[in-house]
Structure formats: structure tokens, C-alpha cells
């Protein structure tokens, strides 16, 4: 394809991505290297309906002069990346140099917000991704073998967890897992434990979130796998049957190899989406026991009235780097394939 044709075809898409994604990413990256100006404080008297108080406030004129001099803020280099809210290099160094054994190191590092968020994010990503792929594959096999007239409704029902807005979906599920809710009460009855609460302990909260995540993402894997099943090479299947392969063998030696490319795609998308897990943590009020990188960004931007753009920017860049590391095997494979084709 000629450069000129290529440019003409890719232009609208590339322009949209450059303007609305690449440019913001650059500005986010720049922002993460700066911290705000020194705020000049003055103590004043504030009065309101509930009486008067001595409080500090920012002196706008003095601060404005500082802003004028350095519009981006003070250059901080990688300082924000290394501080306690992110990689916490100093704190980790202290912990490593002075501790009471490996258990102490782990619990103290886990106490640092970034590592706490990272551990849940990784556990979630590496459990939900394979679980929803396996579940999606099983459902796809099941749907594939039912009579045609049921397929439409069954596909719709199977898609429901993916398409009902998580905003309300998680609220309703959260209510259902209450000890008085239909799921919570049923579990109490099954395990014969009236004190069982899915929301009280860290372990159960993690399990709840992971089950929810699997439930939510399975339909995506299902749709793609189901479509893949439609393109099974009939002749290979038939020859396998003639060779006397039973159904398991056929799935193992014909169906799964055929679906591997699809599985790569599904895995790629799921890894990325799961790594950015955020909504269920809010929906299930799980902040006490489980935080994620995306949640940290949200907390910096929306947690209070003071927005910490630099901190959110640094976490975002770290999230991006994390995704790149996760995807590295796939990227390398794609690169090899690409080179093979290009040759």
C-alpha cells in the first residue's frame, strides 16, 4: 500500500486518537513530573452561621505571582512516582533494611497504598481473566449444541451480565448479598452459619469481587468463542470422528487449537480491562479491603474537594506501564508474526 493511500485511510482514526488520547497522555506525563506551587498561607478569621473561627487560607495574590513565574508548577522530576503514595522507594528501603523477617516485610509493604492497590489488581486480573475465559468457553460449547430456536433468547440472557449498567447492577447485587438478601441468606442457609457475611472479612470481599468480575466478563468471552465455534473446519472434525475420536478428544485436538487465536484476542482485552478494575470496588463498598490502581486515581481526583492531578497522573502512567508489561508476551509474538509477514 502506498504511503499516500495509507495516510488517507488512517487519517480520521489517527487524528481522533492523537487529539483525544495521545495529546492528553503527553500532558498527563508532563503533569506527573510537576507539583503545585508553594501555597502562601495567611491566618484569617472566618465567620458563618455557626460562629467565628481562626483558620488559614491561601493568599491568592502572592500565590498568583508564583504561578505567573512557573505556569506548570515546580519541577519535581520523578519525585511523585517515588513518594509514599506511589512506589514509596524510601519507605520500602527502610522496611527492607530493618524488619523482623519476611512476614513483617510483606505486611508492612502491603500497608503502603500503592502496593495494596497493586496486589488486589494483580490477583483480580490473573484470576478473573482465565476464569471468565473458561466459563465463556463452556457456555459457548453449551449454546452451540442447543436447538436453533432457543439460541436467540439464550444469547440475550447470557449477555445480560455484560450489558446491564454496572452502576445499578452492582448496587442490586450488593443488596442481594446482604445477610438478609436473597443470595446472602441462601449462603447462610447452605453453610448453616447465621453470622456469615460476605462483606465483613477481606478474604470474602476479594472472593465476592472476583466472582462478580467473572460473572460480568464471561459474556464477552462467550460471544467471541461462540462465533469462533461457527467456523470450525468441518472436514477436520469429520476425519477426527472417523478416526474414532470421542467428544473430549475432538474438543481437545480440534476445537481448542482452532480457537487459540481468538483466545489470544479475548485474553488481551480481558487482561487490559481487568487491570483497570474500578466499578465493582465502588459498587460493593469494598474500599476497606480491596483497592485497585484505578480506584487510587479516582480517589485522587474525586475523593475530596482538593484534586491531586499530579498524583493521579503518576498512577495513570504507572497503570499504562503495568498494562504494557502484562501484554509484553503478546506484543513480542505479534512483532515476530508481523516480521514474518513483512518479509
Amino acid at each position: 500500500m502506498r504511503h499516500r493511500d495509507f495516510t488517507a485511510f488512517i487519517l480520521p482514526s489517527a487524528l481522533a486518537m492523537l487529539l483525544f488520547i495521545a495529546l492528553p497522555i503527553v500532558s498527563v506525563a508532563v503533569q506527573s513530573l510537576f507539583v503545585e506551587h508553594e501555597q502562601v498561607l495567611v491566618t484569617v478569621e472566618n465567620c458563618g452561621p455557626f460562629g467565628c473561627q481562626e483558620e488559614t487560607k491561601v493568599d491568592p495574590d502572592a500565590t498568583a505571582a508564583l504561578k505567573e513565574a512557573e505556569p506548570l508548577g515546580r519541577f519535581n522530576g520523578l519525585g511523585t512516582y517515588l513518594n509514599r503514595a506511589h512506589l514509596a522507594v524510601t519507605e520500602v528501603g527502610e522496611i527492607l533494611s530493618d524488619n523482623d523477617g519476611i512476614g513483617d516485610v510483606i505486611s508492612r509493604i502491603y500497608n503502603l497504598p500503592f502496593y495494596k492497590a497493586l496486589s488486589f489488581t494483580l490477583v483480580y486480573t490473573f484470576l478473573v481473566t482465565p476464569l471468565s475465559m473458561i466459563a465463556g468457553f463452556a457456555v459457548a460449547l453449551g449454546v452451540n449444541s442447543i436447538p436453533r430456536m432457543f439460541k436467540g433468547p439464550v444469547i440475550f440472557l447470557s449477555l445480560l451480565p455484560y450489558i446491564v449498567t454496572p452502576l445499578l447492577g452492582s448496587l442490586i447485587l450488593f443488596w442481594m448479598i446482604n445477610s438478609d438478601g436473597v443470595i446472602g441468606a441462601t449462603l447462610q442457609w447452605i453453610f448453616n452459619d447465621p453470622e456469615l457475611s460476605l462483606k465483613a472479612s477481606p478474604g470474602l470481599t476479594w472472593i465476592t469481587l472476583i466472582v462478580y468480575g467473572t460473572w460480568h466478563m464471561t459474556p464477552f468471552a462467550f460471544v467471541v468463542f461462540y462465533a469462533g465455534l461457527q467456523t470450525l473446519p468441518q472436514d477436520t472434525l469429520e476425519s477426527a470422528m472417523i478416526d474414532g475420536a470421542n467428544r473430549w478428544e475432538r474438543i481437545r485436538y480440534v476445537v481448542i487449537p482452532h480457537l487459540v487465536p481468538l483466545a489470544t484476542f479475548v485474553g488481551l482485552v480481558l487482561l487490559m480491562d481487568n487491570f483497570r478494575v474500578f466499578e465493582p470496588i465502588i459498587g460493593f463498598s469494598a474500599e476497606a479491603n480491596a483497592t485497585s490502581l484505578s480506584w487510587s486515581i479516582y480517589n485522587d481526583l474525586n475523593g475530596s474537594v482538593n484534586q491531586l492531578f499530579g498524583s493521579a497522573a503518576a498512577t495513570s502512567i504507572l497503570t499504562m506501564l503495568g498494562v504494557i508489561v502484562l501484554l509484553m508476551p503478546v506484543l513480542i509474538r505479534t512483532w515476530r508474526e508481523f516480521n514474518r509477514k513483512a518479509r
Binding site: 507539583v35 498561607l41 478569621e45 472566618n46 458563618g48 483558620e55 488559614t56 491561601v58 476497606a288 482538593n306
Partner: protein, 412 residues
């Protein structure tokens, strides 16, 4: 602020819909554009303000839960996207820090005859906002349960613990208490309430240095933890909404709940009229032998943007003052704890007013209080779940706060 009332009224769309009899409200012309949080009582005020539209005056509004994220960029541009930002104690702070709102003294003098002196939020002697509603947490007590247990009405947090003990021992309820301890904003807010009751201060005077890890901080945490003994095990997920549902289903005997939610709890048309009838509303409790109620007081008010024409500013001020004229409060007495002149407070507002009269402190308006609030919300949950000591939790809070404050330029 996280104002604890209710959802929106219908959207009040652009100019001219509502304006009839008093079109103009005496405004000569201009554009009024209001940004506000999304709950009923604010909708009422904005509705009234919108009735000033007509005759070259346009009134538009945007009520959204995302208002906090929008207000700074929206008021930074010139001319500002909104002329009026409806704020509370905490959400006025970023507008002040960035110098985005104008002093209102001249407008108050010219058009503010219906306002009371106590409604003016004066910062360094200049009026920066006009408050019209108050809010705060106070006690909601099931009178019938107290009678059954033969208890006096508790007025201190220690008394509440003793009452809870008695209620449990008599087998009336296993978990008689509830508090909004959801990790994050609510948990931090509980700490702020109790800590104010303990007489603590959050910062070294005149600076942004944190000062919470002293004795008052430890005692505050111990008290909060002691209360959770008498709460259902999932207390770390309780929000104000959740508490209301629990209270209405008869699971809770005593709790410190938002004044703005009173109507939802005692509504005779509501889901549990018998619980509503048995409810006693009392001022917030004191704690640790202090005399200050353990509850922060909040106000909601309006501010006028700086980066707009004087004509729009004047139009906005008049429209908003029209929206909060004393008649609005008189006609809707139960909608909120109004701060307007001649407001005859109904029974439902007595909890908040009683707490205020007992000398409760307002939620701090320091420029860096929001950072402290976030740090508290994120770092206290380990202690509340019993996996960390109080001292360690407070040290974590100070470390998290210091990191954030350095980034925001408050600490070096």
C-alpha cells in the same frame, strides 16, 4: 460537600419556563447560570431562582453529583461557564484557593435586605458566600427500645456504649448501634465528628502540619472502635443510606445520622411509620467528658464567580437571593434546616439546631482539610478492622496526608 439530603427535582431548563408573575425579580438583564449538587432542597431554591427568568434575563442550571470536579475548571475560564456555584463548607475551599469567586459585600448592601447577618460567610472580613441551609449529624434514638430496656436517653458516646450493652444483655438486640463507617469519605467524616468532640485540632495552628496523632486522636479511634462492638460485622460498608434502611427495618436502636435525612426516617407515609413514631431526635452526643457535641456542622450556600461581567453577577445575586427569600423557607419548613430570617423550625429541624446551640463546631474550612479527609478515609480502615494499632493508623494518616500536601504545595 456530600450533602445528605436527596435526589434532584425535575430539571429546571433554560429561560422562560418558570417565569410568570414576578418575571425579572427586578433584574435589568443578564444571564444566570447555576452549578449545584443534586438533591431536593437545592432543587427547590434553584426552581425559585429560575422564576426570575424573562425580560432579557436567562436562568439556566446544572444539578449534578459531579459538581465538585466541574466547578474549578468551569469557573477558571473567562467568561466562566457558570455564574453561580452552590457550595458547602468544604467545596468552597478549592474556589477560594484558586481565587475564582468574588466578594459579595457591595451586592449584599444593595440587594441583600432579606438576608440575616448570620447567613453571610465572611472570610477575612469579606463576604464570600451566602449560606441558606444547615446540616449535621445528630442522634436518632428508638424511644420504645429505651423504654423496653429501662434506659435513660444517652447524651454522651460513653452513655451510648453503656445503653448498647444493656440492650444486648436484655436480649432485645444483638447489634443496637450503627455508624456510617464505610471506608472513604464516610469513615473520615466519623473521625472528624468524634475528633471535634474530643476537642482535637487537625493542624498545627497557622500551618499545614498535621496534628492528629496525639492523645485525642488515639482516644477518638478507640471510641470509634468500641462502638463497632455493637454493630453488625459488615460495619465497614455502612453509608448513610444503608443506615437508614437498617433503621427502618428495626435493626438499629441508636445512631448518629444526618439531619437532612430526618424526613426519610419518620415519614408517616413511609415504609415503617411505627418506627418513625417511636423515634426521638436529640442533639449529637458529647464524648470524653467534653462539652462540644461530636458532630461537625455544615452549611450550603451560594457563591458568585469572579470571571463574569458585573451585570451577570448582579443578576445572579438577585436571582439567588430571590430563591432563598424567607417565604421559601416558611412555605417548605420541612424541606431543610433553613437559615433564613423568621424560619419557625419544625420538630424535625430541632436535632440540627440543638446540636448547633450546644456549641458544635463547623466542619473546618482549611485549604488542606480535603487532603486530610481523604487520608483519613483511606488509612483508618485497617485499624477499624483490628489489623493495626491506633498509633500506626494515625502515623499512616499523617504520612499519607504529608505526601499529598507536599504535592499540593501546602508543605515543603
Amino acid at each position: 460537600m456530600k450533602t445528605l439530603t436527596t435526589t434532584a427535582l425535575a430539571a429546571i431548563m433554560a429561560a422562560g419556563i418558570a417565569g410568570t408573575a414576578q418575571a425579572g425579580c427586578g433584574i435589568e438583564g443578564g444571564s444566570v447560570r447555576i452549578l449545584a449538587n443534586d438533591f431536593d432542597a437545592l432543587g427547590l431554591v434553584i426552581d425559585e431562582a429560575a422564576s426570575c427568568a424573562g425580560d432579557g434575563v436567562t436562568v439556566e442550571s446544572n444539578m449534578t453529583t459531579e459538581h465538585k470536579s466541574l466547578q474549578v475548571p468551569a469557573l477558571t475560564v473567562d467568561p466562566a461557564q457558570y455564574t453561580v456555584a452552590v457550595v458547602a463548607n468544604n467545596s468552597i475551599v478549592p474556589l477560594m484557593n484558586n481565587d475564582l469567586i468574588r466578594p459579595l459585600d457591595d451586592l449584599v448592601e444593595k440587594h441583600g435586605q432579606t438576608l440575616q447577618a448570620s447567613q453571610l460567610i465572611k472570610i477575612d472580613g469579606r463576604t464570600m458566600a451566602i449560606a441558606f441551609m444547615g446540616n449535621g449529624q445528630h442522634l436518632f434514638i428508638r424511644g420504645d427500645i429505651l423504654d423496653e430496656a429501662g434506659l435513660e436517653q444517652p447524651t454522651t458516646m460513653e452513655g451510648i456504649l453503656e445503653a448498647a450493652q444493656v440492650i444486648r444483655e436484655k436480649g432485645i438486640m444483638e447489634y443496637p448501634l450503627a455508624a456510617a463507617d464505610q471506608a472513604g469519605w464516610y469513615l473520615a467524616n466519623e473521625f472528624v465528628n468524634t475528633y471535634l468532640g474530643m476537642g482535637g485540632s487537625f493542624f498545627e495552628p497557622g500551618t499545614a502540619q498535621p496534628a492528629i496523632s496525639g492523645e485525642a486522636g488515639v482516644k477518638t479511634l478507640e471510641m470509634m472502635k468500641a462502638m463497632t462492638e455493637y454493630m453488625e460485622p459488615e460495619y465497614m460498608t455502612f453509608t448513610a443510606d444503608e443506615m437508614k434502611a437498617m433503621y427502618l427495618s428495626g435493626d438499629v436502636a441508636i445512631m448518629n445520622q444526618w439531619g437532612s435525612m430526618v424526613n426519610g426516617h419518620i415519614d408517616p407515609e413511609g415504609p415503617a411509620p411505627e418506627i418513625g413514631a417511636a423515634t426521638v431526635l436529640a442533639p449529637a452526643p458529647t464524648v470524653g467528658g467534653g462539652s462540644v457535641p461530636a458532630s461537625a456542622l455544615w452549611w450550603d450556600g451560594f457563591t458568585i464567580a469572579k470571571n463574569i461581567s458585573d451585570e451577570d453577577a448582579e443578576a445572579s445575586f438577585i436571582a439567588m437571593v430571590h430563591g432563598i427569600r424567607p417565604e421559601v423557607a416558611q412555605e417548605n419548613p420541612s424541606a431543610a434546616t433553613w437559615l433564613m430570617k423568621d424560619f419557625a423550625a419544625p420538630e424535625t429541624a430541632m436535632g440540627v439546631l440543638g446540636t448547633a446551640q450546644a456549641g458544635a463546631k463547623p466542619y473546618p474550612m482549611s485549604p488542606y482539610m480535603g487532603l486530610m479527609h481523604t487520608a483519613l478515609g483511606a488509612e483508618l480502615s485497617d485499624f477499624m478492622q483490628g489489623t493495626e494499632s491506633a498509633e500506626q493508623a494515625l502515623a499512616d494518616v499523617e504520612a499519607a496526608y504529608t505526601t499529598a500536601a507536599q504535592e499540593a504545595g501546602f508543605l515543603q
